[in-house]
């Protein structure tokens, strides 16, 4: 079974870390990740930019693009995509296509700050 581990924390608090402290935390996490990677058990790892950098596409008809993160609490996180795009406009276009295929709910589009593709054995 594949498991997704979703990371939650106070972004103001994490954002106030010094560069050294941040690097220190990352290197400690790397030790855990490297072990999984060697065992071929690590999938993609991403660290997202702050919610202020987020854009939300509400999959209404017609779809509505809003600035900021997805703030409602009545829906639940059901999945995610990692896509490579030239810029935000291109990412919004992809989200629109996905939304047309599966209307209802919303997509939150967040730039990825750190990305590790992982190495999962088949």
């Amino acid at each position: 079974m594949l498991y997704a581990i979703l990371c939650y924390h106070d972004e103001d608090f994490v954002g106030s870390w010094t560069r050294e402290h941040d690097a220190n935390v990352m290197s400690k996490l790397m030790i855990v990740q490297d072990k999984l990677k060697k065992e071929g058990r690590l999938g993609p790892v991403a660290r997202l930019l702050p919610t202020t950098a987020a854009t939300t596409l509400r999959k209404d008809d017609p779809p509505l693009v809003l600035d900021g993160p997805y703030a409602e609490t009545k829906e639940q996180l059901l999945g995610f995509y990692i896509i490579d795009c030239e810029n935000l406009d291109a990412a919004v276009d992809v989200a629109r296509d996905l939304g047309a295929a599966n209307p209802g709910g919303a997509y939150e589009i967040r730039p990825v700050g750190f990305y590790e593709p992982g190495a999962r054995a088949k």
Binding site: D12, F13, G15, S16, L49, T52, D67, V92
Partner: protein, 421 residues
């Protein structure tokens, strides 16, 4: 995380909302601050035992308000009131109710108002900044005095005076209309930029001490952006601060001397901040409502994207400065544009461009520094030397002077033909 760390972080991040709401309630800054202080003291007692409340700001507002009301009652009746413990035990239900009400649009205007009262037009810029750091950010007078390089009593006095002026100013407490709100937001954005510049313009020796000013400005810009999520200029402002701050580690050498953009070790630039700045510019551009912060951020981003100085897209930077000149005509912007022009069309064209600015910028250090550099590129060394001498005389910090001296040394070196390069 220890108790002290998370409580401290929670109090800091709840502060603008809590003090803003208490100010709306009491309509007096000192009372609001005192109420918040009281609430913090109770939080320090209650939170380690009971864990953090679901909504720390709502908790602090509720407790702060009750404490202040108790205070008034106590001074009126002079009689003992039930102890704190019982007052707090009733809080859970009340908190829920209050949190509901706070969820609306009120708190956005509360925070904006709190920042806005610091922007009183009669207050000089330094006092606006000091007041905002004290009231909104909650920095201690000692911390602020240190960042401004003045004594603690002097800063205390400055803040007290600023508060007195603000108290008499009569800020509207009604929910502002759209136009009023936009005006407030623009004034507040300008003040946040001032806070950043206060930290950014530090000399080498003081840059470490003043760095918190830059970080605090970024924190406030992010706060504004979270409150006003669809304002492209607030995205632009935040992006601009992030992009400029991304170079902090490369701006001074080991001796504390200023390192110019083209000479900086670009591997020291903070990629994370650059990525975030670019993401915000992308968001802002989708609104097709350009403004000075967005344009300046776009210029900063073009520098950030150049892996080597010679990769810089100067033609685009020239165009963006042209846009900025139209938005905010200013000799300083023309001067900056001239630097881009010198790269695209050569120093002769750039020199012609800044020639008419001489009178208005006759006391501006950078004017003579830039002029000297253009003249030097044209091998008009004697004139360059005169310009550099003038720049040194006008330099605000020893770092600026040292930087110009470096140019002078280069001139002297290059004027000795037999010396090897």
């Amino acid at each position: 995380m220890t108790d002290a760390t998370w409580i401290d972080a929670a109090l800091t991040s709840a502060r603008p909302q809590a003090v803003g709401a208490l100010l709306r309630y009491f309509r007096d800054l000192d009372t609001a601050e005192e109420a918040f202080q009281n609430a913090c003291l109770r939080a320090l007692k209650s939170w380690p035992q009971n864990g953090p409340p679901r909504d720390p700001a709502a908790w602090l507002i509720m407790v702060g308000r009750n404490a202040a009301i108790d205070e008034v009652r106590r001074s009126h009746k002079q009689e003992a009131l039930p102890d704190d413990a019982s007052a707090i035990s009733d809080l859970d239900d009340a908190e829920e109710e209050l949190a509901e009400r706070l969820d609306g649009s009120h708190y956005r205007d509360d925070i904006l108002r709190l920042l806005f009262i610091c922007c009183h037009p009669e207050l000089p810029a330094t006092q606006q900044i000091a007041l905002a750091l004290r009231i909104v950010s909650g920095l201690s007078v000692k911390q602020i005095a240190r960042a401004f390089l003045v004594s603690e009593p002097a800063m205390e006095q400055r803040i007290t005076r600023a508060k007195a002026k603000v108290a008499n100013a009569g800020v509207a407490f009604e929910t502002p209309g759209a136009i009023e709100r936009n005006e407030r937001l623009a004034a507040v954005a300008a003040m946040v930029y001032l806070i950043f510049n206060e930290g950014y313009s530090a000399s080498g020796e003081t840059s470490e001490i003043r760095k918190p000013l830059c970080e605090e400005a970024i924190r406030l810009a992010r706060l504004l952006l979270r409150l006003f999520q669809s304002e492209p200029e607030i995205m632009g402002l935040t992006a601009l601060l992030l992009l400029q701050h991304s170079r902090a580690a490369a701006r001074f050498d080991a001796n504390g001397e200023l390192v110019l953009l083209e000479d900086q070790d670009r591997s020291l630039w903070n990629e994370k901040l650059i990525a975030e700045g670019q993401a915000l510019i992308d968001k802002a551009m989708r609104h097709r409502r350009s403004g000075p912060y967005q344009v300046q951020a776009a210029i900063a981003a073009l520098h950030s994207h150049a892996k080597k100085p010679e990769d810089t897209d100067w033609a685009q930077i020239d165009l963006l400065y042209g846009t900025l000149e139209v938005m905010q005509p200013s000799p300083v912007i023309t001067l900056n544009r001239a630097v881009a022009v010198s790269k695209v069309r050569g120093p002769e064209a750039a020199l012609q461009m800044i020639e008419p600015l001489g009178e208005r910028l006759s006391n501006y250090f950078h004017y003579f520094g830039v002029r000297g550099a253009f003249l030097m590129q044209l091998n008009r060394n004697e004139e360059a030397r005169v310009a550099f001498d003038r720049a040194i005389a006008l330099a605000n910090t020893s770092t600026e002077a040292a930087h110009i001296r470096m140019h002078l040394d280069r001139l002297i070196r290059d004027s000795q033909p037999h010396r090897e390069k």
